[in-house]
Amino acid sequence: MHPAFSVIFLTTLIGTGQGLFLALYTGQVYAFFHLLSEQASKGFYLGGSLIALSLLIAGLIASFFHLGHPERAWRSAAKWRTSWLSREVLALPAFMGMVLLYGAAHWLDWNQPLVTIGTLTLSATMVFGALGTVLCFVLFVCTAMIYACLKFLQEWHSPLTVINYLLLGSASGFTLATAYSVYAAPELMGFYGKWAIIITLLAMVTRVASLMRNCKLKPKSTLQSAIGVRHNKIVQQAQGFMGGSFNTREFFHGKSKILLRSVKWVFLITVFVLPLLLLAGGLSTSVTVLLSAAFLVQYAGLLAERWFFFAQANHPQNLYYQAIS
């Protein structure tokens, strides 16, 4: 497939925003169960929520560049019963609204206990956070299923696609939370940093697993099944035009195998290896700038990861476009 930068920015930006929200709420849940002695300030939550919301808005804006008719985008909420894209279109603003509500509730100090169970006090911010978490996971699943549901794009048609969107988004969000806490809540830096390392390691395992799976894929469609001729040697002589078409522009990345392989190694290093080293370095020394660097490197790496995700997918329609003439 031809990687579209609008979609690369959409999926990476909202993934980071979602991960950051999960990080904020994880901190609150730890405090709720008295597992974390430090409770962050309301400013920390409001600021974090606004950063997450900004990332989600930036992703939404990027997505409009993918549309031929952005002014009709409202129509895309119609077919949520059958289309994962339509479901994402509903889940994204719902989640954005809940992130805003979550940040606002913290700012307005809606921490009065609604229900008290023993020593645990459930407040409005906890409820909004829980609802936001549900919507966050729904959004991860919708975004990933847009790709994973296309069964003949075999590289995408796997549960690993969903797991990777979830873990890669969360990893970048927790790394951002680590960098953010340096300035807003230094006492939480270690907490977020350790989670960022754990999730980045998990994401590395599942992303490498999907790379290994894709290496072994055997295309179900062949030129024989595409044109229905049983012969081992079929060569295309003409594809019906000589100047290219939508078929040749949309479904081919047009880059060399060497470049593709290089991008793979670049993202494996910049999404996983370097951020892990920078996070570990930043946490063990007190050179906190390393933590900010970890996020920037990881986000840049995710752009490469997402580019590779699209470029690696081999569409069966390409069988019909092997030779110009």
């Binding site: 595409a226 229905g228 001729v229 079929i234």
Partner: protein, 245 residues
């Protein structure tokens, strides 16, 4: 199954690759109800544009045992079209009454997701109108009561000089397309994705006669027609000697 499903049957045995179906399709549809199909640099070095139908060419086998196959390619109007459920707006739909898969150009947002969901590459975005386009089976002419009945067919079918393109209802067992599929080995493209394409292809067919060696002489010869007749001896009287006229 009882509902109508209009489709094409393309006979690869008689297609000569003349592209008349391509040009007639473009001519009809660019000036039809759905509006123009835009082109870029039509007379330039790398012309490109929107087409509903293309003819491709393949070479099968290695020299000297090669065969040229011309392969017209357009939307197959799948009975289970994967492009329809993924459309977020409902712009892509399959008509209940005749099974034609269509795009509502006024609802399409140009997200291209349907084209990703078509394994055949049958959909093309119009680079100027920014909406997804595809074969309509000439829906604006096959029901046109102002046309003589014989002309209520897709433009490509009417244009084909070798009658390689048949049009009809593949759910009606008596239709010309059903008979062609049934009797001439009609097949579907990429059956592995279970899209159930309504349009079928007829394979290249060879006409061969198998003659066994014993068929070159008569196996039984009741009238002894080719038997070696006994030769009379030289001293035997001839026919003239024994008959008197």
């Amino acid at each position: 199954m009882e509902m109508t499903q209009l489709a094409l049957v393309i006979d690869l045995n008689v297609c000569v690759g003349c592209h008349a179906c391509v040009t007639s399709c473009k001519e009809w549809n660019t000036s039809g109800q759905a509006g123009s199909m835009s082109d870029d640099r039509p007379y330039g070095a790398d012309p490109t544009g929107t087409f509903f139908n293309r003819v491709q060419t393949y070479e099968i086998g290695a020299f000297p045992n090669t065969e040229t196959l011309h392969f017209p390619k357009s939307c197959l109007h799948c009975e289970d079209p994967p492009c329809v459920p993924v459309c977020p707006t409902g712009a892509s739909y399959k008509r209940k009454e005749d099974g034609i898969v269509l795009v509502d150009y006024d609802k399409c947002i140009g997200c291209k997701y349907c084209s990703w969901a078509c394994p055949y590459g049958a959909r093309e975005i119009d680079e100027h109108q920014k909406v997804m386009k595809k074969c309509t089976l000439c829906v604006d002419r096959i029901y046109d009561q102002n046309l003589p009945e014989a002309e209520r067919k897709p433009a490509c079918v009417l244009a084909c000089p070798t009658s390689a393109r048949l049009f009809g209802d593949v759910h009606d067992p008596e239709s010309v397309v059903s008979a062609a599929i049934r009797e001439n080995g009609g097949y579907q493209l990429m059956p592995e994705w279970a899209t159930k394409p309504a349009s079928h292809y007829l394979p290249r067919r060879k006409t061969r006669i198998k003659i066994h060696a014993d068929e070159l002489s008569r196996a039984d010869n009741p009238l002894k027609k080719e038997r070696q007749l006994p030769q009379p001896g030289k001293s035997e009287p001839s026919l003239d000697d024994v008959t008197s006229w």
